[in-house]
């Protein structure tokens, strides 16, 4: 078994990890780094539960080897909120009930965050196409679409008050 040293930044922090060549990036993130917000839902690259950002682009981390992350900048769901403040997409998912069991949610939000970074005002069709690499079994997608639209409005409006981390109307 040959171990390699892999250097990358994840959620803004520089990391140096030991990885076997065949280790999937998702396992490096979950097991080596203990960032368990990124999930695994299939082995055929269909579900998107493992979606992270690789140099800003959403990719399926179950279909990459950890060694391929050398020199890259990664972001996972744990890197979305800054200082306890949810990003607009997270806030949208909360406001619009865009999650139920929460298992697909990290991947879904990574895809949505990237979409809103590249497309200013996506139509409903564009949103649905953009998240078509992420499966959700619980929500029927309606509220996920609404959550992304909420985030889109929020990002293009004046800064709104911070979302507070507790249940409330």
């Amino acid at each position: 078994m040959s171990m390699k040293t892999v250097n990358f930044t994840i959620n803004g922090e520089a990391k140096s990890v030991q990885a076997e060549s065949r280790q999937l990036l998702v396992h490096c993130i979950r097991e080596t780094l203990g960032l368990t917000g990124t999930h695994v839902g299939c082995e055929t690259s269909h579900c998107g539960a493992c979606t992270i950002h690789l140099d800003g682009e959403p990719v399926k981390s179950c279909t990459m080897f950890a060694v391929q992350a050398e020199g890259k900048s990664l972001t996972t769901v744990e890197g979305l909120a800054i200082g306890g403040t949810l990003n607009p997409v997270q806030e949208g998912f909360w406001e619009e009930h865009g999650l139920q069991c929460g298992f697909c949610t990290p991947g879904m939000m990574m895809t949505a965050t990237a979409l809103l970074r590249t497309v200013n005002e996506p139509t409903e069709t564009e949103i649905r196409e953009a998240i078509s690499g992420n499966l959700c079994r619980c929500t029927g997608y309606v509220n996920i679409v609404k959550a992304i639209q909420y985030a889109q409005r929020k990002m293009h409006a004046t800064p709104a008050p911070e979302a507070v981390l507790q249940g409330g109307d």
Binding site: R22, P58, T63, M64, S132
Partner: protein
Amino acid sequence: MIPASFEYVVAHSLEETVGLLAKHGSDAKILSGGMSLIPAMKLRLAQPVFIVDVNGVSGLEYIREEHGELRIGAMTREAALERSSLVKHGYPILFETAKVIADPLVRNRATIGGNLAHADPANDHPATMLALGATVVAHGPHGDRLIPIDEFFPSFFASALEPDEVLTEIRIPAPSVRSGGAYIKFERKVGDYAIAAVAVNVTLDDHDTCIAARIGLTNVTDVPARATSAEASLVGHRITEQAIADASRLAAHESDPKSDLRGSAEYKRDLVRVLAGRAIGRAVSRARGGSH
């Protein structure tokens, strides 16, 4: 699902890549987008001993027009094709192809070079490249070799690349006046390979007579293939409804699909007819100057 162990090397130049391939022979595999190779490795359908990652080779991601051709670097991601306004406006058939491959996340990694090199008759680019009459550039120990797309898929799941060659570029002739192309794929859901798909590229003269036609088929033949008798039936004629219907029937006849969970052979063959009709219609309308 866990891949078997392998050795991993990042190549930084084409020379290094070719050297590694030459050294390790058939034990080695190139890794580009990884979207076909890694799933196969996870299922242990592929167990390469040696992986040469070409993502470290710079200068292979580009889309540009030069020497009367559209030249696309092998490592160009599907997402880049989709986003390119040159592709979208100048080569709508290619835009339509890239956009229906897998899903948006896969397209952020998957490369056009890998799509052709993988030589999977279910992949979408082969049919489109056949329709466009593309040329593939292979780089080996002796430098570049140009392979016409018609010779690129010699047999089942095999490409014309030598084990020590790497695909570096795809060249597509710039569209002649009054030409148009279209790609229409029918899939069970997003993320699925085609039940069937048809790529069509036609050129008309000033009197609307078809002077060139190429038709490629996806996932209905053992190797990516053209529907040559359908093409022949169009050339030299004005493309009427009847001509389209006749050509589509010929295309269906030339397909050789297998029954599977996507549908019966009978269904797929008829689907080729339907999709060919729609794709020819759209290509002709584009050739005449319409956008659809």
